[in-house]
């Protein structure tokens, strides 16, 4: 099979189905309603998502999941961004589940981990990941277990043995917690090269998870701005007829258009060649952050004073973009990874190396 940078009909129709459900269930009103609750989570909605088979998509069939890959899920992650879904569905599917899978498949965890996988598939957020790169755990209070560690250490800690301090995010949909681990109660799972590899893969999946959502967030912000500037009239005509307004949104559209294939390539690389996904993932995070942050800036601008109000729903997307752009590695972290790679004298640069090693023949089953 030759080069084919398209999604399959099956992939597209699954995304359409889930996207349709999300657009019904996750409205700005319901997102705002979650802000006023203690947990910030709609458990019924999580169950609905789980019933569609979404939560276990990336878990192998032998462990009870669907055995699909990141390319099957990436557009769903994008849709979760587009709908500004507050629940950490993308992180559970694309980060927590694969880390649990990695640990189980390497024989590093026992039956208790399989039980955690089962819970995750059913839509319960039993496990949270506290990666060294992130200062906070989003929805850390919902979990019974935390996968945590420093450096090359990966360990499992019961939530009770973790001191969680609630922190307020600029995004009212996020529920941040700073975690202080009690090492005496931590069960070590991996260390050395194995631990480092687990964290590295986890970081790449986390960065991909945020990148895909950022693209969806940016698309949604532009769509709202097109609607607003088509309706709002000044000087007797819609403000969207002005080139100064059009060009602000066109600039965002260009950045989105060129972030998408980069994010999809990152998903493919994470799935097919996870050990050399650093460049593809960092590129995706940088490109998607750039698009989403520009969208936030320009879309507030074209909304005028409305864009600066609490009432305007745009804030839901803008604030999520501000948060996700820095989670799982900010621009500085990811640009430095790319810089390090580009400066290597043996880096394979040039047009013939767009898809990694030229001998790359591994494929993803359609």
């Amino acid at each position: 099979m030759g080069m084919d940078f398209t999604f399959t009909e099956d992939q597209l129709s699954f995304v359409d189905a889930v996207r349709g459900m999300l657009s019904q269930e996750v409205t700005p009103e319901r997102i705002r309603a979650r802000w006023d609750t203690d947990t910030g989570v709609d458990t019924e909605f999580m169950t609905q998502v789980a019933e569609l088979g979404v939560m276990g998509m990336l878990i192998p069939e032998t462990l009870g999941g669907l055995g699909l890959g990141a390319t099957d899920f990436v557009m769903l992650a994008q849709a979760c961004g587009e709908m500004a879904v507050p629940e950490p569905i993308v992180e559970q599917v694309l980060v927590v589940a694969p880390l649990l899978t990695d640990i189980l498949e390497r024989g590093l965890g026992g039956d208790s981990l399989q039980a955690m996988v089962d819970d995750l598939i059913s839509g319960q957020m039993t496990v949270a990941v506290s990666h060294p790169i992130n200062p906070f755990i989003n929805f850390g209070d919902r979990s019974n277990w935390v996968l945590a560690g420093q450096g090359e250490e990966v360990c499992l800690v019961a939530r009770d043995a973790v001191a969680l301090a609630s922190k307020k995010s600029v995004d009212p949909s996020r529920r941040l917690f700073e975690a202080e681990l009690d090492n005496a109660n931590a069960t070590p799972l991996a260390s050395g090269d194995v631990g480092a590899d687990l964290w590295r893969r986890t970081l790449n999946r986390g960065a991909l998870a945020t990148a895909a959502q950022l693209v969806g967030l940016a698309e949604a912000m532009v769509a709202q701005s097109v609607r607003y500037t088509s309706d709002r009239a000044q000087f007797g005509r819609a403000i969207g007829t002005n080139q100064a307004v059009k060009h602000l949104l066109a600039d965002v559209a260009v950045q989105i258009e060129y972030a998408k294939p980069v994010v999809y390539r990152a998903a493919y690389t994470v799935e097919v060649s996870p050990s050399r996904a650093d460049f593809a993932v960092s590129h995706a995070k940088v490109a998607a952050s750039r698009a989403a942050l520009l969208a936030a800036r320009h879309c507030i601008q074209v909304h005028g004073a409305m864009g600066y109000t609490w009432e305007c729903d745009l804030q839901i997307w803008v604030k999520r973009a501000w948060a996700l752009a820095r989670e799982w590695g900010d621009e500085g972290f990811h640009k430095n990874r790319i810089h390090e790679w580009l400066l290597q004298s043996n880096a394979l640069l040039g047009p013939e190396f767009t898809f990694g090693r030229r001998t790359l023949t591994d494929t993803v089953a359609a």
């Binding site: 099979m1 030759g2 080069m3 084919d4 940078f5 398209t6 999604f7 399959t8 390319t71 532009v222 097109v226 500037t229 088509s230 005509r237 819609a238 969207g240 007829t241 080139q243 307004v245 059009k246 060009h247 949104l249 066109a250 600039d251 559209a253 260009v254 258009e257 060129y258 972030a259 998408k260 294939p261 980069v262 999809y264 390539r265 493919y268 690389t269 097919v272 590129h283 940088v286 490109a287 640009k335 790319i338 810089h339 580009l342 400066l343 004298s345 640069l349 040039g350 047009p351 013939e352 767009t354 898809f355 030229r358 790359l360 023949t361 591994d362 494929t363 993803v364 359609a366």
Partner: protein
């Protein structure tokens, strides 16, 4: 999704690479905006044609290889990797060629394609007029039917390559009572015809890269009308689509430039650099690759039977701004020596073709529809913002 090449695609790459290695001139050719350089580039087109590499996507009957767009991208990657000469016939092979294939009669294809492929006929474009630039529907240059001929009168301007080219193609008003985008026809005109006067215009680099063309009762046969009388606007939009779209600026061109930029940066890391340079180098490399990825996505879609959507309007802005950033960053790296026009082999060795590229990059946001017009198109046709 499969982001790897098949064995046959790999073999095709090897074949292209081997052929280019054996045939690409060791010395860079002089600019094709000089008479000597133009003929040297024409000779290179002939060499390409002899190997059937003139336009790999064309059918074998027309000197091509019947390649799909993925193979075309592979060919382009190897072409730029090998540092092969720029295509002096790019207006022909990348813009007119695809239009001829789609809208030309069999007789027209047989007449024009082989000569285009062989480099015997080099093409210039003749779109703009003094009062029809971004507003192309304001075209006034007329072509009046007279028996089996059309008689052309008027003026075109900014015609790239027209000073040395053999043929030109453009839009002419064939219905004198028509207005705007109605009543226009796409006509192919030999530039050596009686009544054609070509007046060179020097570009920013001092060379006559484009020209004014004056038509004074120029007679061309009706055979030279492409796609039917009065169909000019529709056909031109298709050409503009190829230009803005896939063909004119293949991603490999920018990837190769970005690679050279990274190398230049590595040589200068000990210098006291503008702190923005590091970020710009990274961005150039990433954006060139993003453009390649996007093009592979579009090519895959087309190969699978899909079509290009309005989102293709984004790419002209993206590559032209990328080209500027690449060359602006190179000029920063070269510092005060960057203004030097390389005159000796050792200066060329030291400074590379960056100044040339920097000058040319200034034109990117202007030609093929200014970036301001592109932003209007994106806002209105892709995003659906109101026109009035």
């Amino acid at each position: 999704m499969n982001l790897g090449y098949s064995d046959s695609q790999q073999a095709f790459r090897e074949e292209v690479r081997d052929w280019l290695k054996a045939h690409v001139p060791a010395q860079a050719l002089p600019s094709f905006d000089t008479e000597e350089g133009f003929e040297a580039h024409r000779a290179w087109e002939r060499t390409l044609a002899e190997g059937n590499w003139g336009m790999v996507t064309w059918p074998e009957a027309y000197g091509g290889r019947g390649c799909d767009l993925i193979e075309w991208l592979i060919f382009e990657e190897e072409y730029y990797r090998a540092g092969a000469p720029l295509r002096v016939n790019q207006n022909g092979i990348f813009l007119l060629g695809p239009t001829l294939m789609e809208y030309g009669t069999e007789e027209q294809k047989a007449r024009f394609i082989p000569a285009m492929a062989s480099g015997d006929e080099i093409w210039a474009q003749a779109w703009s007029e003094p009062n029809a630039g971004s507003d192309m529907a304001a075209i006034r240059c007329s072509a009046t039917r007279d028996g089996d001929d059309f008689v052309i009168n008027g003026q075109k301007i900014w015609s790239t390559r027209a000073v040395f080219a053999d043929w030109g193609f453009g839009l002419f008003r064939t219905d004198p009572d028509s207005e705007r985008h109605h009543g226009l026809s796409k006509i192919l005109v030999p530039l050596n015809a009686d009544g054609v006067t070509v007046r060179p215009i020097r570009q920013l680099n001092g060379l006559p890269g484009f020209a004014e063309i004056f038509f004074d009762d120029v007679r061309v046969p009706a055979f030279n009308v492409l796609g039917g009388e009065g169909e000019g606007w529709r056909i031109a939009m298709a050409t503009a689509g190829f230009e803005r779209g896939l063909m004119l600026r293949s991603p490999a061109r920018f990837q190769q430039a970005a690679k050279r930029l990274v190398r230049l940066y590595r040589e200068h890391t000990q210098d006291l650099l503008d702190p923005s340079v590091e970020d710009a180098v990274l961005r150039c490399y990433m954006d060139a690759e993003a453009y390649a990825l996007s093009t592979y996505q579009t090519a895959s879609k087309l190969v699978g039977g899909g079509s290009i959507g309005p989102e293709a309007s984004c790419n002209k802005i993206f590559w032209s701004e990328l080209d500027l950033l690449i060359h602006e960053t190179a000029m920063k790296l070269l510092g005060a020596r960057g203004e030097l026009e390389p005159a000796t082999p050792s200066e060329l060795q030291e400074l590379g073709p960056w100044l040339d590229g920097f000058l040319f990059a200034q034109s990117g946001p202007i030609y093929a529809g200014t970036n301001e017009i592109q932003r209007n198109i994106i806002a209105e046709r892709m995003l659906g913002m109101p026109r009035k």
